[in-house]
């Protein structure tokens, strides 16, 4: 853990640097606040010493008024510090949030298959908020305490050099004890954050599946799982608290020792006539003054621990590199793209190859239907074309350029996917079509929606909010909406993965026209179970158990008695009649 500490600090510093000027201004405020805190006890020292030498009531009252003014000013500055610290901490951490969001979005499909959205929310927002609390609350107090210590040593040095040296030794000892204790609790804090991320991730997932669980009467089962995960959270919290208490003992011990020692030392020095009673009293006040920020920091150490754990996880997450590297420099020729599979093998990291030795050539501008039973590797092939996964063996080329040599930006611009399951966003209809892009005009968005057969959505107004989770839009309509998304982008190669599966035959007939329009001037791959969807395609490819078992002209295959496609058509014959 220690070896990672410098890396953690370097990373934090790098994140803070853009706002350096603000942090500097904040430091100046903190210095002023510390100076005021030190001035108060000096006034009381005067009161004690002057009373012993027979000062008048009026003189003492004047000192009391000075003390009151200092107290008032300290309060005002404290509020200004809180304001400046919070604003700066959020400014800085918002940059981290954005950076992490961008980073996580850039990670592989595999990464997102392994992590729930709930967990990622916790890591991108929850963890960073812990860092924000650290920067906005703990750092200002720690810096303020630093100023306090330095100022105190200066004041004491002016009064009595030996006293200053003793205080210096005391502060060093206290800090050493705190720092030693701090490291011990990092693991526990990180574990605690991890178990809460799992707890919340589990809740989020169950809420997403709420209808399924309700319809299956599985509420009690889900609740039991929640109780199990809460038990783990409790266990990790107690472990973290124990680690925290260990260092709390250290800090509290040093403060308590400080008070006792200052009393004893003060008594000895006063008896030896080395200092005045007032100075002995000042020593007590300063130790108490040190105790306040120290105790504050003890309370805030919890935040430090959390932030420390969070920082480890932030750095870990930022350190996850996508396996899909973006090193390409070659743009394929413009216009529709050809697709070439050259002896492609693929497996998801186990011994079960999903694709086995796929060798395919699809000419530019052709439309191809891909059929096969579920699990035969069709969807994996489409993921390869979008470079969401990388072939284990073999080369895939688009427009004659190996896919790894094409810059990802270029690839995303030219190749589009219409998936089976369409995710919707909490936002307006327009936001859901443009994915929050302000560029397309309202007219273009409306035209794309109408083309996709969603005129009703346009008529209701495209600036209406679409309910979260897609309330107000059926699963079939969501698929049409995904078609509109792609239409707006005008790609050169389109992959439809069961993209019309949730659409009824009647609507699909209307959609034929739209899909035909989409096919024009681009290469189109249509993965479909419903063979009626494939009436207009040029070629058919049949997948079975990860292999291509048939490829050829659609009409020829349909007419040939021995072909698999022919057999599938016969099976589904009555279906074509129905639609």
């Amino acid at each position: 853990m220690d070896t990672r500490s410098p890396a953690r600090w370097r990373a934090l510093m790098a994140l803070v640097r853009p706002d350096a000027a603000r942090w500097a201004a904040l430091s100046a405020l903190l210095a002023a606040s510390s100076a005021l805190s030190l001035a108060g006890p000096l006034v009381i020292r005067q009161v004690v010493d002057r009373a012993r030498t027979g000062a008048t009531t009026a003189a003492l009252a004047n000192l009391a008024v000075v003390y009151l003014l200092i107290a008032a000013a300290t309060g005002v500055i404290a509020v200004i510090v809180a304001w400046a610290a919070t604003i700066t901490a959020w400014r800085t951490t918002n940059q981290i949030r954005l950076r992490m969001t961008r980073h996580v979005l850039g990670l592989d499909h595999e990464f997102h298959r392994r992590h729930t959205p709930g967990e990622l929310i916790q890591r991108v927002d929850g963890d960073v908020t812990s860092v924000s609390d650290f920067l906005g609350r703990v750092v200002p107090r720690a810096v303020g305490a630093g100023f306090l210590v330095v100022g105190m040593l200066i004041v004491l040095a002016v009064l009595d050099l030996g006293l200053a040296l003793g205080a210096f030794a005391y502060v060093l000892l206290a800090v050493a004890v705190v720092v030693r204790g701090r490291h011990r609790a990092v693991t526990e804090a990180s574990d605690e954050m991890g178990s809460y991320a799992r707890l919340y991730g589990g809740i989020e997932e169950r809420l997403t599946a709420a209808e399924d669980l309700r319809a299956n009467g599985a509420g009690a089962h889900a609740l039991n799982r929640f109780v199990e995960e809460s038990g783990q959270a409790l266990h990790s919290s107690v472990r973290r608290e124990r680690a925290f208490l260990r260092m709390w003992w250290a800090v509290q011990g040093s403060v308590a020792a400080g008070v006792s020692v200052s009393l004893a030392v003060g008594a000895a020095l006063v008896a030896a006539d080395a200092i005045s009673v007032g100075t002995a009293f000042l020593l007590l006040q300063y130790v108490l003054l040190l105790g306040r920020p120290l105790e504050d920091i003890v309370q805030q150490l919890e935040t430090v621990q959390k932030a420390n754990g969070a920082m480890v996880r932030v750095i870990d997450l930022l350190g996850v590199q996508p396996a899909i590297a973006d090193h390409g420099t070659i743009a394929p020729p413009s216009g529709p793209l050809s697709v070439n599979f050259d002896h492609i093998w693929f497996s998801y990291g186990d011994d079960h190859p999903v694709l086995q030795n796929i060798d395919l050539h699809i000419a530019a501008g052709r439309s191809v239907g891909i059929v096969g039973r579920t699990g035969s590797g069709k969807t994996t092939a489409s993921r390869l074309i979008l470079r969401l996964v990388e072939a284990t063996e073999g080369t895939l080329s688009l427009g004659g350029v190996p896919i790894a040599d094409i810059p990802l930006d270029e690839l995303r611009r030219r190749v589009a996917l219409i998936p089976q399951e369409v995710e919707l966003f909490a936002g307006t209809v327009r936001d859901n079509v443009t994915l929050f892009d302000d560029e397309p005009s309202d007219d273009e968005v409306a035209a794309a929606l109408r083309l996709a057969g969603l005129s009703t959505l346009v008529d209701g107004g495209i600036h209406r909010p679409l309910g979260p989770g897609g309330a107000g839009v059926s699963a079939g309509e969501a698929q049409l909406l995904a078609l509109a998304r792609v239409w707006l982008r005008r790609p050169d190669l389109v992959v439809l993965d069961e993209a019309t599966a949730r659409i009824d035959p009647g609507t699909e007939a209307l959609l034929d026209h739209a899909v035909a329009q989409l096919m024009r001037g681009r290469t189109t791959l249509i993965i479909a179970h419903r063979l009626s969807t494939l009436r207009r395609v040029d070629e058919i490819i049949v997948f079975d158990h990860g292999r291509v078992v048939e490829q050829g002209d659609r009409d020829e295959l349909a007419g040939s008695d021995g072909s698999r496609f022919h057999r599938l058509l016969e099976l589904a014959l009555d279906e074509d009649v129905a639609s």
Binding site: A82, L105, E205, T374, P505
Partner: protein, 566 residues
């Protein structure tokens, strides 16, 4: 809404750790009274030139400090447990209400899971923070009473004048109450917007990537986090302002003591020892008004939290967020149960179906969409196909039938063997009815757990896998039915997910099986195998399908157009 009473019920969920923690804190706060008095006596000795006496007081102080720390060690461990117990109760009640299949416990389902998570995380914590604040207040109160007694015996006038600044703190907090509440909920809304978008974005990461939409999404995100910065700063400055004010009040208090006692100090009757006691107590004295201020602020926040949480529970009754329930999460509680696991799933009693009658069923959404006056009869062992164009209300019909069309205004009735089903959501669950939604959701668990959901035997699970035509796929997987399927089942293909979810619906051999659009994810051969298998098993089925192979086998076809039967 009585926040105090609600908080009390939350605190008494696990009284043992609550009271143990509470006692620790209260005892902890009596030690500073003793120590302050010792400091005062020490300085008396010091100023009278008796260092030996002062050393003795210093030594006693060390002993007291050790006792104080031992007390808080015990208290803090106990309190940490109480802290988790309290939040677990709230979360469990919210979750139970969200997942209940009808019945008195069921709450209104939430829209976005990402946004709802803030209720489970932040709102539950806000309530626990309020209780936490009250414990601090009671401990501070004990200290204040004892300290007032000691200080009053030194100088009554100086002690009385302290009430001025300390009382001011409580008054100022009160005055800022409504503002605290307003800022707080604005901040919460801003946070929910951020995590809502983040959740959507993370769930749709691939879609965003393949649509090259990262830049506009980041722009939207930027706007939301920027807004949240503003709300967070306002919230925090107000919070810290109240705190700074109370801390300043302690210093002002000491200044006032000096002012009031100036003549006594000049005369020598108010010695340095007395001043030391006042100084030692002053830091602790500001604790109570500070905690009172904080507790008041937290009361407001807890009020906001309860209000928001009540939206998730039955009848939106806030009392349902604190319903007592057994939640054995600590090792001690688990030991007490001696390995007895809680009931995984209590199935409703099976009522064999002879005939299902749907009578004038309507469900209208606020937007005007929905279904209108649908009636039909389903005989035992028959196969009913629902079809119709997009947005015709097919899904709404099934969900209204099952009592799941929550956002709609429902009317009409459903009869099970000629008896009206009063609470459909509660009755139409396995083994009476099972439902496969259009886009089924699975959970990051094993295949077995996703299907059994706690209560099925192994052979039932295996049988349902075969019936759902997914048995061979699962057998091919390295860990078979123990294969972990990843978040939301994403390690499975779309078709496998659909069929595993179908197996989940079949596992208890339901009297009535309702499938919303199973064919969209299945190829023709698989769908054929499914219908044949269900017919052979003698199942009563209502299914949405567009395929002729389904129509061929149907005993009746219900065609919906614009929410009505044609």
């Amino acid at each position: 809404m009585n926040v105090w009473r609600l908080a009390w019920r939350v605190s008494q969920h696990e009284p043992r750790s609550f009271w143990a923690g509470w006692s620790g804190f209260v005892l902890f706060f009596t030690f500073p009274v003793v120590n302050g008095w010792l400091v005062g006596r020490g300085f008396d000795a010091l100023s009278h030139g008796q260092p030996g006496e002062a050393y003795r007081y210093a030594l006693v102080m060390v002993v007291c400090e050790v006792l104080r720390m031992a007390t808080i060690h015990f208290g803090a461990i106990q309190w940490t447990q109480a802290w988790v117990h309290m939040q677990t109760l709230l979360r469990a009640n919210l979750l139970a209400a969200q997942l209940a299949s009808g019945g008195p416990e069921a709450g209104q389902p939430v829209g976005s899971a990402g946004a709802a998570l803030t209720h489970f995380r932040d709102d539950a914590e806000d309530v626990a923070m309020f209780v936490d604040g009250l414990v601090d207040v009671s401990a501070g109160l004990v200290f204040t009473v004892l300290a007032a007694f000691v200080l009053g015996s030194i100088d009554t006038g100086a002690t009385a004048v302290l009430a001025l600044p300390l009382g001011g703190v409580a008054l100022a907090t009160r005055a800022l109450d409504s503002r605290i509440k307003r800022y707080r909920s604005a901040d919460r809304a801003a946070t929910a917007a951020v995590s809502g978008l983040l959740g959507d974005v993370m769930a749709a990461a691939t879609t965003i990537k393949v649509n090259a939409a990262i830049e506009p999404i980041m722009l939207r995100m930027n706007g939301l986090v920027d807004h949240r910065r503003h709300t967070a700063v306002r919230d925090r400055v107000l919070d810290d302002g109240v705190q700074a004010f109370s801390q300043g009040a302690a210093d002002v208090g000491l200044g006032l003591v000096l002012l009031v006692s100036a003549s006594a100090i000049a005369a020598g009757s108010f010695g340095v020892g007395d001043l030391a006691v006042f100084t030692a107590y002053m830091g602790w004295l500001s604790f109570l008004p500070r905690m009172v201020g904080r507790a008041l602020a937290r009361r407001k926040q807890a009020g906001v939290a309860f209000e928001r949480m009540s939206g998730l529970v039955a009848d939106e009754q806030v009392a349902n967020t604190v319903t007592a329930r057994s939640l054995p999460i600590s090792p001690r509680q688990q030991l007490a149960m001696q390995g007895a696991t809680p009931p995984e799933r209590i199935l409703v009693p099976r009522v064999p179906l002879r005939r299902l009658t749907v009578r004038s069923l309507s469900a209208r959404f606020p937007s005007g969409a929905g279904i209108e006056s649908i009636s039909f009869v389903v005989e035992r062992g028959s196969f009913t196909v629902v079809t119709g164009p997009i947005a015709a209300g097919k899904t709404t019909l099934l969900r209204a039938l099952l009592g799941l069309a929550h956002q709609a205004e429902n009317s009409g009735e459903v009869l099970w063997n000629d008896t009206v089903v009063l609470d459909r959501a509660a009755f139409l669950v396995p083994p009476n009815a099972a439902f496969l939604p259009q886009v089924p959701q699975l959970i990051s668990d094993s295949v077995h757990d996703n299907i059994a959901l706690g209560s099925a035997r192994l052979e039932q699970v295996l049988r349902s896998l075969d019936l759902a035509v997914v048995g061979a796929d699962i057998d091919d997987m390295p860990d078979g039915i123990d294969t972990m399927i990843g978040p939301r089942g994403l390690r499975l293909s779309g078709g496998q997910r659909q069929r595993v979810a179908t197996a989940r619906a079949l596992v208890h051999e339901p009297e009535l099986l309702i499938l919303d659009d199973v064919s969209s994810a299945l190829d023709v051969e698989t769908e054929l195998a499914l219908w044949t298998g269900l017919a052979d098993a003698g199942m009563t089925v209502i299914a949405v399908s567009h395929r002729a192979i389904a129509f061929d086998r149907a005993d009746q076809v219900l065609e919906l157009v614009a929410g009505r039967l044609r």
